[in-house]
Amino acid sequence: MIMFWVSLLAVSILLYVLLDGVDLGVGMLFGLVNGDSKRDAIQGSVAPIWDGNETWLVVSAVILWGAFPVVYATLLSAFYLPLIVMLLGLILRGVAFEFRHKTQRMRWIWNASFAGGSLVASFMQGLTVGALVEGLPVANGQYAGGDFGWLTPFAVLCGVGLCVGYGLLGACWLVMKCDGEVRDVAHRQIPVLAVGLLVFLVVVFIHALAERLPIMDRWIERPYLFAFPAIGAIAAIALGASIRRHNDRWPFYMVALIFVTAFGTLALSFWPYMIPFVITVDDAAAPHSSLAFMSWGGFVVFPLMLLYTIVSYSVFKGKSSATMPANRIANFERSEP
């Protein structure tokens, strides 16, 4: 039962990173272009799906709370400020979808809020993971790092790295979903971001070795872990090839695969800890009566959520320029009074 919930949690977090990572990456790239039509196309490529994607973050949070309440309580309170800033980033990103089109004169505000919110949320997510990898200062089962204990150079580096990674994911998405100039611009961004991500990964690896992060010991104990980076490397080579062929789809699949392998690597090097070297999966698990009650949700409703996600991606499949709003304001003849 505990294994089941760990797996579901892992799937939810991975889905969040892949799906909303696209939205956040697209949001950051949105900040780099000029002109309303290009911006509309970029935002429109994720507009019908972003809400569902963001929901996977809530799914992860509540699985964590229900199945591993100690971890939920410890992590969320330790990362107080980064999480709250991340939430505010998500808020500003989210309302921009709605508000951008309600105004002409003030649109710049919501352009800034869309790009800035995406950037802040991505950075904070990377920073949080980085601080977790480095190891949280915990004393007597309680976070003991102070208000800014998470703010380290390595964590900041991870924040920047995740922004680059999401950006790459977003660029690959734009190539797949858009036409014309947006697609061309994204095609040019992909190699730059890909090299950026590669540099980041190498720097992280060197840093982890140099600082002798305890997490690295797991690699010596578990040589099979190298399978993940190996698959990631193959995906990176395939990504390079697909970039050269100007393919519209393969870059996205390959970058997604790189994210999956990176996630798998990280998750397995934590195992069996949920907060490295402080709380293990078994320590953290909720009582049996809670997990048993949750299993209905896990076995019946969770697959339904996957189904909804598939439904929404299949309704909005293909190039997003074909997406149009449900009602057609443009042809109404009445102007604003």
């Binding site: 002109g35 309303d36 039509s37 509309d40 507009a47 019908p48 809400d51 569902g52 963001e54 809530v58 799914v59 949070a61 509540v62 709370w65 229900g66 309440p69 939920y72 309580a73 410890t74 992590l75 969320l76 309170s77 107080y80 400020l81 709250i84 939430l87 505010l88 998500l90 500003l92 989210g94 979808f97 709605e98 508000f99 089109h101 309600k102 002409q104 649109r107 208000d147 009582p287 009566s289 009650f293 949750m294 409703v301 339904l304 909804y308 439904v311 929404s312 309704v315 909005f316 320029s321 074909a322 997406t323 149009m324 709003p325 449900a326 304001i329 443009a330 003849e333 009445r334 009074p337």
Partner: protein, 470 residues
């Protein structure tokens, strides 16, 4: 009062949840209203339903978006500020909120996307189905939230093990009396919110002599629904009072500003509770046995006063006392408006009664005020407990949260929320002022590529908006 991390955390929770509840209570009602409109359109083919649907969908979009983004905060705040609570009650609250997310959020999010962008991509029956699924999702969400909150109000079905609340009877947790009076109470409140906003909009257009067909439908359906629902709502409100009286005597004593045990009890209609001296100033009081009659449906029942409850277990008195009275007052005014308006509307005299139309138009804040003050009564009245009778709010907070961190977070929450709230309400206002732009004019669609969520856009330009960039 010292500014402590505890006080700041409480203010932050109160602020963020008050901000949040405004939007779901509006969208639960609107989602149901949209489903009815779409079903009516499919059944009758009358274009007015389509015009109204499109119009209210724009408003729904704005409100839903603000509800979604402010709701995510709630899923995190238990852990960030109230980590002791979330650790102790996680085995119960965690699974309940998990069910909320699993059954409601993904359903809403997916089919909301279809609603806004998918009209041209799916068959009509699927579009109606999507509308109904959004409405169902909002209802599920309300249900699980009410189960969760009711457990915090009246904790049942658990044992305490190693400092955690371990569930041992989920049937009791989900199917107890408290849940099943509070959930309908909240749901009805949301429907009333939708009904009054719709009716107020209709009244405004009648006053402006605009959108004749649409305003008639809105006014009649809104007031008619409210006229039927408010008596039911008052009944469920009374049942909620019964659970409070049974399980939360300190909250009841605060709501009634009752200081001494009385048997049978009197009823303070209005007054100013003077907490320090334990008495009421300027009180208008109904003699016994009205208090017993209202609180316990009995002519003789004894009612507990605050003096027989230890001072450290008192809730603040003023907020539950006035919160409750404001809520009931709003309910009574709405009842009068709904009945009178529906009666005149049946007699076809409402359109000429400009006074009542103005009142109906100005009544749209009432359901929101009733919901917020009702929640203040419930939540402040539960203090000093976060889980009534077993865990104090002061003991539930993250122990190492500093005043500095709590100040930073509260300040940025206030700033960002004030910012998006002012723009959000302004955009909703402008949408309603403009009205259902298409009137009864139906025509083929013009494909405008790359127009993301431009549903609520005011058509300031008649050509494609792609060309409208500055």
């Amino acid at each position: 009062m010292d500014v402590t991390a505890l006080l700041l955390s409480r203010i932050q929770f109160a602020f963020t949840i008050t901000f949040h509840i405004i939007f779901p209570s509006f969208t639960i009602g609107l989602a149901a209203w949209l489903t009815v409109l779409e079903a009516l359109r499919l059944a009758t083919g009358r274009p007015v339903y389509r015009v109204l649907f499109d119009f209210w969908l724009k408003i729904f979009g704005v409100a839903f978006g603000m509800g979604v983004v402010s709701g995510i905060v709630m899923a995190f705040q238990f852990g960030t500020n109230w980590s002791v609570l979330s650790k102790m009650s996680g085995p119960i609250q965690g699974p309940l909120l998990m069910y909320e997310t699993f059954t409601a959020f993904m359903l809403e999010a997916t089919f909301f996307g279809v609603l806004i962008f998918g009209r041209s991509r799916v068959p009509p029956w699927f579009y109606l189905f999507s509308t109904a699924m959004v409405a169902l999702g909002t209802t599920f969400s309300a249900f699980w939230i009410m189960v969760n909150n009711s457990w915090m109000q009246v904790p049942v079905g658990y044992v305490t093990e190693n400092g955690a609340f371990v569930p041992d009877n989920w049937i009791k947790i989900i199917f107890n009396f408290v849940v099943w009076v509070r959930f309908p109470h909240m749901l009805l409140a949301s429907y009333l919110t939708g009904a009054f906003c719709v009716a107020a909009t209709g009244a405004w257009y009648v006053l402006r002599r605009d959108y004749h067909a649409e305003s008639q439908v809105m006014l009649r359906m809104g007031l008619g629904l409210a006229a039927v629902l408010i008596p039911i709502q008052l009944f469920f409100g009374h049942l909620c009072g019964e659970y409070v009286n049974t399980y939360q005597p300190s909250k009841m004593a605060a709501i009634e500003a009752r200081w001494n045990d009385e048997k049978p009890a009197s009823e303070v209609l209005i007054g100013w509770p003077d907490v320090e001296n334990r008495r009421n100033l300027y009180a208008i009081t109904l003699p016994p046995p009205f208090g017993s009659l209202i609180d316990s449906d009995s002519l003789t029942a004894g009612e507990t006063g605050l003096n027989s409850i230890p001072r450290e277990n008192w809730p603040p008195v003023l907020i539950p006392f006035f919160g409750f009275r404001i809520m009931v007052g709003c309910g009574v005014v709405m009842l009068g408006l709904a009945w009178l308006g529906s009666y005149l509307s049946l007699k076809h005299r409402l359109e000429r009664n400009r006074f009542l139309l103005w009142l109906t138009f100005l009544s749209f804040p009432l359901p929101f005020i009733a919901i917020v003050t009702g929640w203040f009564t419930a939540e402040v009245g539960r203090q000093p407990w976060v889980v009534y009778g077993v865990l104090r709010t002061a003991d539930a907070m993250t122990p190492f949260l500093t005043t500095r961190a709590a100040t930073i977070s509260l300040v940025i929450f206030c700033a960002v929320y004030a910012f998006i709230f002012s723009f959000g309400t302004f955009y909703v206002y402008r949408l309603i002022r403009t009205g259902p732009v298409g009137k009864l004019f139906e025509s083929g669609r013009i494909a405008v590529p790359n127009r993301p969520l431009s549903l609520a856009e005011i058509p300031m330009v008649q050509h494609s908006h792609v060309g409208a960039g500055e």
